[in-house]
Amino acid sequence: MIITMAFGGGGKTTAGLINDIFFKHLGNDILCRAEDSAVVEGCSRIACTTDSFVVDPIEYDGGDIGRLSVCGTVNDLLCAGAEPKYLTCGFILHEGLELAALERVVSSMALTAKEAGVKIVAGDTKVTEGSGGLFINTSGVGFIPSGRDISAGNIKTGDSVIISGCLGEHHVAILKNRMNIKNDVKSDNAPLVDMVRSLFKNGVNIHAMRDITRGGLATVLAEMAASSGTRIELEEGRLPQNGSVRDFCSLLGLETIYMGNEGKMVFFVPPCDEDKALDIIRNDRYGKNAGVIGTVTCEDKEGSVIMRTAMGGMRRLEAMMGEGLPRIC
C-alpha cells in the first residue's frame, strides 16, 4: 500500500494513518490526548531547537530518517547543556511512499526516542505530490539545570579538544548507498544523551560542546574558534580513523574532516579534566574511539584552526565552502 493525497485530506484516511502508524509507535499520555496543542510540565530555563531532515535515501546502512530526526534534535539540545525532554514532529509525506517504509521509519523513531529518554508530544502530517519520499521536521525542548552554562564563548586557552569517535561515517553511509558502492561503513547516527549526562554527573567541567554534523569537524571548529576568539591547534595524527571511511574518501577526493556525522560530539574541557572526560566518553557505547585531538593554544580575535599534518607541516582549516563535491578524477 502507498501514500496517496487522501492520506493528507484531514478526514478518516488521515485519522486512520495517525492511529495505525503514529499513535501505534509514538503514543504516550500527552500525544494521545490528540489536542490541538500539547501541554507539558516546564522548568525555569529551557533550550529549544528545530531541525528538518531531508536525507535521501530514507533508509541507509546503520539507520534511517526516523532515527536521524530524533538524534539530530536531541544532540542539539545536549550542546546547550540541556536534558532533552520533549520533541514534536512534522511529517511531509510524498505521494507514492510505501506505507510499510513509513511504518519502519516511525517505529525506528520511537525506539530512538525511547533510547534518548524523550517523549514525542505533538505531531503533524501533510502529503504533497512527489516521488515516494519523506521529510521530517522535529523540534525539541530540554531543561537546563540551574548554574549550567555551556557555550562556545566559554572556550579558554589551554582547553583540551576531545572528539567522541571516528569522523565521516554517516556521510559515507549515505554516499555509498547513492553510489552503489559496498563497504562495511554504517551511519553513526546516535543520541548522545548517556555520554553527556555521565560527563556532567561525574563533574567534568565542559566549557563547550558541539555535535559535528554537516560541514564536518573543520567547519564546526572554525565556527567555534571564531565565536570564542581563539586559536585551536589539532594534530592530524591523533584524529581517530575508520579505515573504510578513509579509503572511501581518498577514492573520491573527500576529506573526513569535512564529512558529516550524526553521533559525534566535540568537547572543550580544561586540561585537568581531560583524562576523566576521555575515560567516561570511551566507556559509553558510542564513544569507544574517542580521543584528544588538540588544544586551544591562545587568543586570536579572528579565530583560527590549525592542523599539524602527519608530516609536521601546518595547515589552516577553513569552514567548508559551498557544497562538498567529489573530485572529478
Partner: protein, 344 residues
C-alpha cells in the same frame, strides 16, 4: 627511509629549484600534507595544468548551460557544476529550473537513460587519460543496449602536449612530478621521450605523504645528477608499458584534434574527440574555441602555466574566493587557487 628523504628535502641548500606537478590530486595532496612549509625554501613546488575542470574553456560551459536551458538533461561529475560560464554556471541553470544531475559513475547515466527513453541526456565528459577509458566502457554499454538518448559533450585532453607547450614557452621548470593516475594509463614512455627531448627529468609518483616525499626526493636526485627522462617511484600502480588495453579502447573511439585550454589557448592535437563513425553520440564538442575571462584581472592563465603563484593574483582571496570564484582554478577542489585558499 621516508624520514631520511624528508631530512634531505629540509636540508637542501643547492640552487633554487622549481618543481611542477601536473595533477589535481597531487595539488590537493601537497597542500593537505603541509609539505611546502617544511621542505627547504630553495625547493618551490608549483602546480601546472593538471585539473581537468580548471583547463576547460568557457565556451564548453556555455554550450552545456545552453543545452540545459534548451530542455536537455545535463549529467555531470562533481566540480563541473560550479564552473562559471559567460551566462552562469550549471548550478545557476539548475536553480532556474534546468535538469542538471550529478552522478558518481557513468553507469548511473545508462540506467537513467534506459528508464526514461523520452528524455535527451547530455553527458559532460571531461578529463585526462585517466578518466577517458571509463567513458569508452560506457560507450560500449550504450551501443550494446541500443540506448539512443545519450550524447556526450566532450572536453577530453592529453597531458603530454600541454607539458611540451609549457616547456616550449619556457616556464623555467627544473623537473616534473609526473601525474600518478595518468601514468597508470600512459606508462613511462611518453614522459621518457618528452624528458629526453627537452632535457628535463620526470618522477612518477603517488599521492600518499610518503610517496610524495619519495617522488620529490627522487626528482631532486635526478636533477643533481643531470639526469633526464623518467623514473618511476610508483611501481605498485604504474607499469612501464602502462595499461595497453585502456589505450586501445581510447583509440577505438577517439581521435586527436586541437583543443582549447582555459587561459592557455589552442594546443594542436592535445584533445580527443569521438571518431566520425561515433559522431552520433557527440553533442557538438568540436570547435568550442571561445575562452573568456570573467574578470580581466584574473591570472588563472599564469597560474595554470606555473608563471605565478595563486597568492600573487590581485583577486586571490579578495574578489575571488571559492564561494564567488572568478576563475576556474578557484572552483575545483583540485584547482591551485582553491587548494591554496583552503590551506592558507
Amino acid at each position: 627511509m621516508t624520514g631520511r628523504f624528508l631530512e634531505d628535502l629540509k636540508n637542501y641548500d643547492g640552487r633554487q629549484l622549481k618543481l611542477m606537478e601536473v595533477c589535481g590530486s597531487h595539488t590537493a595532496a601537497i597542500a593537505r600534507s603541509g609539505i611546502r612549509e617544511i621542505i627547504s625554501p630553495k625547493i618551490r613546488l608549483i602546480s601546472g595544468p593538471g585539473c581537468p575542470v580548471c583547463v576547460t574553456a568557457s565556451s564548453y560551459i556555455d554550450r552545456l548551460t545552453e543545452l540545459a536551458r534548451d530542455g536537455k538533461t545535463i549529467v555531470t561529475f562533481g566540480d563541473m557544476i560550479r564552473v562559471p560560464g559567460s551566462t552562469g554556471s550549471l548550478y545557476e541553470a539548475k536553480a532556474g529550473g534546468a535538469d542538471v544531475r550529478m552522478i558518481y559513475s557513468p553507469f548511473d547515466l545508462i540506467r537513467m537513460a534506459a528508464d526514461d527513453p523520452g528524455r535527451d541526456f547530455i553527458f559532460a565528459a571531461v578529463g585526462f587519460e585517466t578518466t577517458i577509458p571509463v567513458y569508452t566502457l560506457m560507450l560500449d554499454e550504450i551501443r550494446e543496449k541500443g540506448i539512443k538518448n545519450v550524447r556526450l559533450l566532450t572536453a577530453l585532453k592529453c597531458m603530454i602536449p600541454v607539458i611540451e607547450k609549457l616547456l616550449c614557452d619556457g616556464s623555467g621548470t627544473d623537473g616534473f612530478l609526473a601525474p600518478g593516475h595518468v601514468s597508470v594509463i600512459t606508462g613511462e614512455k611518453p614522459f621518457f621521450e618528452t624528458g629526453k627531448k627537452y632535457g628535463v627529468p620526470f618522477a612518477i609518483t603517488g599521492f600518499e605523504t610518503d610517496k610524495l616525499i619519495t617522488g620529490i626526493w627522487g626528482l631532486l636526485k635526478m636533477i643533481s645528477r643531470g639526469e633526464t627522462g623518467v623514473r618511476n617511484f610508483y611501481p605498485s600502480a604504474v607499469k612501464r608499458e602502462g595499461n595497453i588495453k585502456a589505450r586501445q579502447k581510447i583509440e577505438e573511439y577517439f581521435e586527436n584534434g586541437n583543443a582549447y585550454w582555459r587561459g592557455i589557448g589552442c594546443i594542436p592535437d592535445s584533445g580527443l574527440y569521438l571518431k566520425k563513425e561515433y559522431s552520433g553520440y557527440d553533442a557538438g564538442s568540436r570547435d568550442l574555441v571561445k575562452d573568456e575571462k570573467f574578470d580581466v584581472m584574473c591570472c588563472c592563465d599564469k597560474i595554470l602555466t606555473g608563471k605565478m603563484e595563486p597568492v600573487q593574483c590581485p583577486l586571490f582571496s579578495k574578489a575571488c574566493t571559492p564561494l564567488s570564484p572568478k576563475g576556474a582554478c578557484m572552483v575545483s577542489s583540485e584547482g591551485s587557487c582553491y587548494v591554496h585558499y583552503s590551506a592558507r
